[in-house]
Symmetry: C2
Subunit: 126 residues, 2 copies
Amino acid sequence: MEIVIDIDDPIPLFAQLIEQIKHAVAKEHLKPGDALPSIRQLANDLALNSKTVAKAYRLLERDSIIQTKGYRGTFIHPEAKKNSAVDMAAWVEEKITHTIAVCRDAGVTDSEIRIAFANVMNKRNV
Amino acid sequence: MEIVIDIDDPIPLFAQLIEQIKHAVAKEHLKPGDALPSIRQLANDLALNSKTVAKAYRLLERDSIIQTKGYRGTFIHPEAKKNSAVDMAAWVEEKITHTIAVCRDAGVTDSEIRIAFANVMNKRNV
DNA sequence: ACTTGTACCATCACTATACATGGTACATAT
DNA sequence: ATATGTACCATGTATAGTGATGGTACAAGT
């Protein structure tokens, strides 16, 4: 596990971390069951804030790339390789692209779309 | 046509203008074919910038509430009353609400939805 | 000449969000 | 005690979008 973080890279630090762990899983440098460094340990090694690492871990767990087992630490998920191939972001963009295209076709301005989007996002009861 | 603009109202000025013209159409204080003040005239009367009035007119025309006839001025659209009842904003919100709900159900965070949305909006080739 | 809508150029204040940081605290399980 | 993930409090910087403003200019039609 060599992880390199470039603070000058425009890609957010937490995203660089996710990217590299996913890549290591895809390349099988990390296999199911392998232990990952603790959040605090990794934050210390990479000179990052623990919240930044925690954010990456939280998202990786949501995508079932890793599994956190409380006090016992964090491990590579059994289905990690398969799940690392799933591009959730692309799927979301595809959904949103379609909706926006429909609105634009109806003559709605981008500004209005943005306002409607903001309104919906800020109604938590959705 | 008495239009009152309240600069202390949190509602944007151009939106107040749209609102009041639509209302006048719905109440039939403005009927199809009625002439509206020119952009510069109305801007002057209401102490608004002409671009602000132009924005309102542009949106009203898109929604077929008014018709601009170049040098001849601006008039109430024949179908204005019917079109003033159409709530484009609500329709857009409904579309977006559905898409966002689907994404949230899939476990996508609001932050990720926002980023995907921004990405799509900034790809003009949609 | 004059007015119409429209299209550029631009600036400013305001707001919202993302990202990253820091500190403190907690239950869990060794 | 110690270490785990996690949750809450908070701040600061940077970016992006909105709303509104102002100026200049143009074709179209009287």
